[in-house]
């Protein structure tokens, strides 16, 4: 029941927000998102973290004669993703307080509506419900990016939209095929999919149908071409939603709907995927080094980070998977923080060009500290959240193939290069015209950044809080894969 409440509360709140005229909408939206966070904490308290099974489940008939049910529930991985979503959404809403977006009611209603889609993706235990929610999450973010974005938004967002729809339609075709292979009157339940025994030829093509959908969403090289433009043109909150949470839909999709469903398909293609992921790591990093625009730089760095997560989970060992899960949380926290800091800088100087900034440390001590912490988290310095994930992921990749591990390990060095180069250009040096009268963080900005920075250290220092939640679920998943 709590799962259903978690799923529908944001949608209900969105309808409420839609009715509010003027900038009051953001306050209501924020409160609604906080309530959602409280609900997720309640779900956490009701959750048995020792068990890898699906809990807090609810299943209602949807299209009864076809065996399609409205089936939701959570295991450890889902729960962590839900917590990430409910933790980030209030912060994202709070981070928008300084903007006066036109039609605020529609803007905030879309964010909340998207939250329903995101939660739905993470709790869906039925393939068609998953697909349904997958698209429900996409429509609001398209409108957020296309209506409130910057100059080039229209061309860029339609590319993003058509690209992701194309991927997900392939997923739909694969789901329909899998569904028709289930015995009896057919069922699209996740466990029915896990119990299928398909020939390795059909697993081989189903693998690609599903992988393309997830790879576009993450995005994995070479399916990433929509990403930098879309991140750059979206409004700051849209970018945070896309990079902080939506990207995790793709990784989560791999964990729940790809690896356990077509294990033979995975064993046929895992090397190809690892190579693509590792190309993505190096490629994303090198391009990030060359960027002059802050948002584009972080966008490309995101390609590199996601490449490592993808490489880790396709190794199919416990370190890789656990590292992938924890890194999803870390990446969500870090990237939202970094995009917020870019938004802060942009709102004061009206530029994101590294060369026209500089010397911000002199005026804004607190901002510099928070920026540094988030940045080090993204680089993966020990004691920060990035370290835990990258360590586990890299050790997973090393176990798989030492050469792959070696190349993937470049990410640490390259990340330090582009991140520190960015920090140096923006924060140190002499003040430019634009940064001369830079003011430090406001109360509202602190309220967003402090929870994020706390999470950077929490995950970095006590990763077991989170790893222990996902461990039974990951082991359960591995036992299904290795069956």
């Amino acid at each position: 029941m709590i799962t259903a409440l978690l799923l529908f509360w944001p949608a209900l709140a969105a309808l409420l927000v839609l009715l509010i005229k003027g900038q009051g909408a953001k306050k209501v939206a924020f409160v609604a998102a906080l309530v959602e966070f409280a609900l997720s904490l309640f779900a956490l308290s009701a959750f048995d973290t020792q068990s890898g099974a699906t809990q807090l489940a609810l299943s209602l008939p949807w299209i009864e004669s076809a065996g399609i049910s409205f089936s939701i529930g959570m295991d450890g991985i889902s729960l962590l993703m839900v917590l990430l979503t409910t933790f980030l959404v209030p912060l994202i809403i709070l981070s928008s307080y300084k903007h006066a977006y036109k039609n605020p009611n529609a803007f905030y209603a879309l964010i909340l509506f998207m939250q329903t889609g995101l939660i739905g993706v993470f709790v869906a235990m039925d393939a068609f419900l998953f697909y349904f929610m997958w698209e429900v999450a996409l429509i609001p973010i398209y409108f957020i990016a296309a209506v409130w974005g910057s100059a080039n938004r229209i061309r860029v967002t339609i590319k993003f939209f058509v690209y992701t729809i194309l991927g997900s339609l392939f997923m739909l075709a694969a789901f329909v095929y899998l569904y028709l292979q289930t015995p009896g009157t057919h069922s699209s339940d996740v466990n029915a999919f896990y119990q299928l025994s398909l020939s390795s030829e059909s697993q081989s093509w189903i693998f690609w149908f599903l992988f393309v959908a997830f790879a576009i969403k993450m995005p994995v090289f070479p399916f990433h071409t929509w990403q930098p433009d879309t991140y750059t043109e979206s409004p700051a909150q849209g970018t945070m939603l896309l990079s902080g949470i939506m990207l995790k839909m793709g990784i989560y999709g791999v964990l729940r709907w790809l690896l356990p469903v077509v294990p033979y398909g995975v064993s046929q293609w895992d090397e190809v995927v690892l190579v693509l992921a590792i190309i993505g790591i190096v490629y994303g990093s090198i391009i990030a080094i060359r960027q002059r625009d802050l948002k584009r730089l972080v966008a490309y760095s995101s390609i590199a980070h996601v490449g490592l997560i993808a490489a880790g989970i396709f190794t199919l060992n416990e370190q890789g998977l656990q590292g992938g899960v924890i890194q999803m949380l870390s990446h969500g926290v870090n990237v939202v923080g970094l995009f917020f800091i870019i938004d802060i800088i942009f709102s004061r100087t009206n530029t994101r060009e590294i060369t026209s900034l500089g010397g911000i440390t002199q005026n804004a001590k607190l901002l510099s500290i928070f920026f540094m912490v988030l940045l080090l988290g993204a680089i993966g310095l020990p004691l920060t959240n990035g370290f835990v994930g990258e360590f586990l992921l890299l050790s997973g990749v090393f176990q798989y193939n030492a050469w792959f591990g070696g190349v993937a390990g470049l990410t640490i060095i390259l990340a330090a290069v582009y991140m520190l180069r960015m920090f140096q250009g923006v924060m140190f040096g002499t003040k430019s015209e634009l940064t001369a009268s830079f003011t430090d963080l406001t109360l509202n900005e602190k309220a967003v950044l402090i929870p994020l920075v706390v999470m950077v250290f929490w995950i970095g220092l006590f990763p077991n809080t989170f790893l222990s939640i996902s461990e039974p679920a990951v082991n359960n998943l591995l036992s299904i894969i290795n069956r």
Binding site: W62, I63, E64, S65, A66, F128, Y131, F132, M133, W134, E135, V136, I139, F143, A146, V147, R153, I154, I158, F161, V162, I165, L166, L169, F170, L172, A173, V176, Y177, Y179, L180
Partner: protein
């Protein structure tokens, strides 16, 4: 059956009602008529009867499609409010012709005899030829009527030719008997060539009616030239009736000779999907885009026919319902916008999101539905069609093609959404919408979303 009689009688009554001084009574009158027909039609549910010495069967298939087509017409009519306000003197005739056309459509979903199919197609078409040219002062409307009439009569002739050949081969017009007669024809493993030719010619005739490629060339010009209100009828009811008749024909009469017509049908389907979707991309006129989009949707419906299994009828039924609801709303909004902007191009919709949020929202939901995005009926339409087709795993390639083209579809459906929400308004004056029309739009939008959340309402019927 009762619905055919009622519709005919109501059509005639309506003609006489046209003599009334006050034209305002006409719309409520015809709406009540249609509501009565809808209700009476439902009485035949689960009560299969044959009429006119086995010329017509009213089974659940016929009742379900009649219901959808009646409801479609019912929800379309409020958009004719403008004709009344303008004092159009031929209004009663328009309504009567629509009702007569519906009679033809109802026959097409319940026929038991090829002659009845032919009569149904003719009744449906002749009324439409007239309505296509109803805007007498417009050259384009005249062109549309002439083109539609010439092409239409040519292809009806072809259909009749096919029927004659099948009669020649089997000695009967009754579709069930034709189905049974095939056993004798194919006994030596070679199909009778006249019979096969008859099937193919008949398939071509019906393909024309549902504007399937390569017999679609008339459609863009006719849809574009016909007054928008009637284009909406043409691309919903006519298409639904055509596809329903097509499936009934193949299932009842030609199931045994599946192998003979299957490759042709696959070729038509592929061509229709490609021509419709690619053609729609390059249009600058929204109305012309909808014409091509209706070709592409004929292609998706034909996919259910290609599947040819027990899920086909449900898929076609659901797809028609989803497609009709979205298409009427789209044409309805187009008509309102067109009346004000004097243009059916994408640019006419610029800034509609700001000036008329309701129209823009309805249009967006319709476009999402036509594009097949979840939360709308169109998603389940595509879902049922794909599931039906994938029961034969060899057809995976066709699903893949359809998937790619569906993504192309998103592009052209979203052009109007982009125009409405992201382009500045050319004309800050809101489009005038009568409250009853607005109410109808809300009903259509709710229907589209409702079927997108609870598809079982329609999909469990058959």
């Amino acid at each position: 059956m009762t619905s055919i009689i009622l519709l005919s009688v109501f059509g005639i009554i309506n003609l006489f009602a046209g003599f009334a001084k006050n034209k305002q009574v006409l719309l409520p009158l015809v709406l009540v008529f249609l509501a009565v027909v809808f209700g009476v039609n439902l009485l035949d549910w689960n009560d299969t009867q044959t009429y006119f010495s086995n010329m017509l069967t009213v089974d659940n298939y016929a009742v379900a499609f009649t219901g959808i087509m009646t409801l479609t017409t019912l929800l379309l009519l409020p958009f004719s409010q403008r004709y009344i306000d303008k004092g159009d003197s031929n209004l009663a005739e328009y309504y009567s012709l629509l009702l007569f056309s519906l009679v033809g459509a109802v026959m097409m979903v319940g026929y038991e005899n090829l002659i009845m199919l032919f009569i149904g197609v003719e009744i449906l078409s002749i009324a439409m030829y007239v309505l296509a040219g109803s805007d007498k002062s417009s050259l384009r409307s005249n062109e549309a009527a002439l083109k539609y009439f010439l092409m239409g009569s040519f292809f009806t002739g072809i259909m009749l030719f096919g029927i004659a050949m099948i009669y020649g081969a089997t000695g009967t017009f009754n579709i069930t008997e034709i189905g049974a007669a095939q056993a004798g024809l194919g006994a030596d493993g070679v199909m009778d060539s006249m019979f096969v030719l008859g099937i193919l010619v008949l398939v071509i005739g019906i393909s024309f009616k549902i504007s399937a490629a390569p017999f679609h060339f008339w459609a863009p010009d006719v849809y574009d030239g016909t007054p928008t209100f009637f284009t909406a009828f043409m691309s919903t009811v006519v298409k639904t009736a055509g596809v329903a008749a097509f499936y009934k024909l193949m299932a009842a009469a030609f199931a045994a000779s599946y192998a003979a017509w299957f490759p042709t049908l696959v070729a038509i389907t592929v061509l229709t999907l490609v021509v419709g979707n690619i053609g729609a991309v390059i249009q600058t006129s929204f109305k012309r885009m909808l014409a091509y989009s209706s070709i592409s949707h004929a292609g998706y419906m034909l996919m259910a026919l290609v599947a040819f299994n027990e899920s086909s009828d449900t898929s076609i039924l659901f797809y028609s319902a989803a497609y009709s609801a979205a298409t009427i709303a789209a044409f309805g909004v187009l008509k309102l916008v067109q009346d004000q902007q004097r243009s059916a191009d994408y640019e006419a919709f610029n800034g509609l999101g700001k000036t008329n949020p309701l129209l823009a929202f309805s249009m967006t939901v319709s476009m999402l539905s036509l594009g097949g995005i979840p939360l709308t009926a169109g998603f389940f339409g595509k879902f049922f069609v794909f599931s039906a087709l994938l029961q034969n795993p060899d057809m995976l390639w066709l699903v893949v093609l359809a998937v790619i083209l569906a993504a192309v579809g998103i592009y052209y459906y979203f052009r109007v959404v982009i125009a409405m929400y992201m382009q500045p308004a050319a004309n800050q004056k809101p489009v005038r919408v009568e409250s009853f029309t607005a109410f109808t739009l809300i009903v259509l939008t709710i229907l589209t979303i409702l079927l997108g959340i609870a598809p079982a309402l329609v999909s469990e019927l058959l």
